[in-house]
């Protein structure tokens, strides 16, 4: 097995990859650049960015496996869906916590006013979905819900991604191009995957149900 796939099979590798970006995100709080006038805001933005990237990453695992079922890397990655998915939730929660601190005014007046703004409601929607996916991902919850219901619920992950993209685009005054390079590849993979599943599932051209039966 190629080295990369071997590495990616290991939970330790995934843990390291998930934790490393946190160092970058939290650095402004502990060692701010002298010129950074609002380190907490830097941390807040970095955490949001990482949350989006991790969320998109976990969503690419299934299409990668569908498109290249024999590829070792895709197989390795699909072992870690739960860990990476929960990682996305963890970063989103940290992002939200940084926001709470950032708007803290001795109370929650500012927080309460701002959470009603559409772009924050969209973020909140994404956060709640990730939260629900995380708590229902416990084995007990899966067993209790039954596989089918759980799978349907899991599809909400795509809604979360759409909301996150919208939230990220809306967070800036001018459309941020990184939305395209973060969510674009996922969209391409999903389209390819749906197309492949259609082609494999549909009967060959020119045959009618009558002829095949």
């Amino acid at each position: 097995m190629p080295l990369l796939a071997k590495l990616l099979r290991s939970k330790i590798t995934i843990w390291v990859l998930l934790v490393l970006p946190a160092i970058w995100a939290l650095k402004p709080l502990f060692a701010p650049e002298p010129s950074d006038a609002d380190p907490l805001k830097s941390t807040l933005l970095h955490l949001g960015l990482i949350a989006c990237i991790v969320l998109v990453t976990v969503l690419t695992f299934t299409p990668l496996r569908v498109l290249w079922p024999k590829w070792g890397v895709a197989q390795a990655l699909n072992r870690h869906r739960r860990l990476v998915g929960v990682g996305a939730f963890a970063y989103a929660l940290l992002h939200f916590t940084a926001h709470l601190l950032h708007v803290y005014d001795g109370g929650f007046v500012t927080f309460w006013k701002e959470i009603q703004k559409p772009f924050q409601l969209i973020g909140l929607g994404a956060l709640l979905i990730l939260f629900v996916l995380t708590i229902t991902s416990l084995h007990a919850a899966i067993r209790w819900m039954g596989g089918k219901a759980w799978k349907n619920l899991h599809r909400l992950a795509y809604v979360a991604a759409a909301l996150a993209a919208w939230h990220q685009a809306d967070a800036r005054k001018i459309f941020p191009l990184q939305v395209v390079w973060i969510f674009g590849p996922l969209a391409v993979l999903e389209i390819a995957r749906i197309w492949k599943q259609r082609v494999t599932a549909s009967p060959p051209r020119g045959t009618t149900p009558a002829q095949t039966s």
């Binding site: 402004p28 709080l29 701010p32 650049e33 002298p34 010129s35 950074d36 006038a37 609002d38 380190p39 907490l40 805001k41 941390t43 601190l101 950032h102 708007v103 803290y104 005014d105 001795g106 007046v109 500012t110 006013k113 701002e114 703004k117 559409p118 772009f119 924050q120 809306d170 967070a171 800036r172 005054k173 001018i174």
Partner: protein
């Protein structure tokens, strides 16, 4: 040689306060060299208007309750989209060879005395520079306190001598396309800002040519930059090349981009929210470190007594 006649209110011998003095006032017991070291470490940026320095503090605009933000933060936490859309880029990009001296500004439109003039000559004509300490409130809900050096805009307007038809003044920033450090299209260049003529004539309206008694760094809008402290920071047109007196209300750049979020008046108003955040409170840059608390935003950024009269009878919710 520049000869200036100091206006009567000036204390003849008081030079403008450099940052070291503010710092030492704040922390007398801190090591004496601290402020000086900070100054020595300040990056050597290309200088803009060099005329008029050293400046003199105008005591009428030096509220002792205000603690100026550090020079480092004022000169590195910046929105100047011509040189990048994040806060840190302008400091790097505006100092990659972009020249702000010599600099010519054109004063034109519905006036009796149109002229094109070198920025340094203009400062000399305005009688040199004075220092005023103003609050600065960004539309993004953060704030600073800045010791600006420069001259009152009203003086420039008197020089221009507007005709009765002139009702508004516009300020155009230089066209950045092709300038060293230009970061690419973000807004519809050149950046345009405008004021009603009576707003522009107001005592508080100011053209800054310096910060902390030093020529204004490129990234802060060298060599000439509008300062209107009761309005949000985006009204402070930077690196002005043209001042145009017009009859009709202009459409400023951000209003053209997003009229729902940014209006023409852009007066600081804690009661009128931005569509994406509240304007009722603000983060004070540099105060209290990373977890510093917010403070309440004041009506007209604390200049209500001086400017409220300009907007009598106007619906400030609609004219945001």
């Amino acid at each position: 040689m520049l000869i200036r006649t100091p206006p009567s209110w000036e204390l003849p011998e008081s030079a403008a306060t450099p940052e070291s003095v503010y710092l030492n006032r704040r922390a007398l017991l801190k090591s004496l060299g601290c402020g000086a070291a900070a100054l020595a470490l300040a990056p050597h940026v290309l200088r803009a208007t060099t005329a008029g320095f050293p400046t003199r503090v105008n005591p009428d605009y030096r509220d002792p309750a205000l603690t100026p933000t550090s020079y480092e933060h004022i000169t590195s936490y910046i929105n100047f989209y011509e040189f990048g859309t994040d806060k840190a880029s302008p400091k790097t990009n505006a100092n990659k060879g972009w020249k702000t001296e010599p600099w010519t500004v054109e004063i034109t439109g519905l006036i009796n005395n149109p002229l094109k003039i070198d920025a340094n000559d203009l400062v000399a004509k305005m009688g040199g520079a004075e220092q005023r300490v103003y609050r600065l409130r960004c539309v993004e809900a953060w704030s600073m306190v800045v010791p600006w050096d420069g001259f009152p805009l009203a003086k420039l307007i008197k020089l221009a001598d507007p005709k009765p038809e002139a009702k508004f003044v516009t300020f155009s920033t230089f066209n950045p396309v092709g300038a060293p450090g230009y970061a690419g299209p973000a807004l519809d260049w050149p950046y345009l800002e405008g004021l009603r003529l009576d707003e522009a004539m107001h005592d508080l309206s100011f053209i800054a040519t310096g910060i902390y008694g030093k020529p204004i760094p490129n990234q802060n809008g060298a060599p000439l930059r509008l300062v209107v402290p009761w309005k949000y920071g985006f009204k402070y047109g930077k690196s002005i090349v043209k001042i145009d007196f017009v009859a009709k209300q202009p459409v400023n750049t951000w209003q053209a981009m997003q009229a729902r979020e940014y209006g023409f008046y852009a007066n600081v108003n804690p009661n009128v929210d931005h569509p994406r955040w509240t304007q009722a409170s603000e983060r004070v840059i540099g105060a209290g470190g990373a977890f510093g608390l917010r403070q309440k935003t004041l009506m007209f950024n604390g200049y209500e007594a001086q400017v409220a009269g300009l907007y009598k009878g106007m619906d400030l919710r609609r004219n945001y």
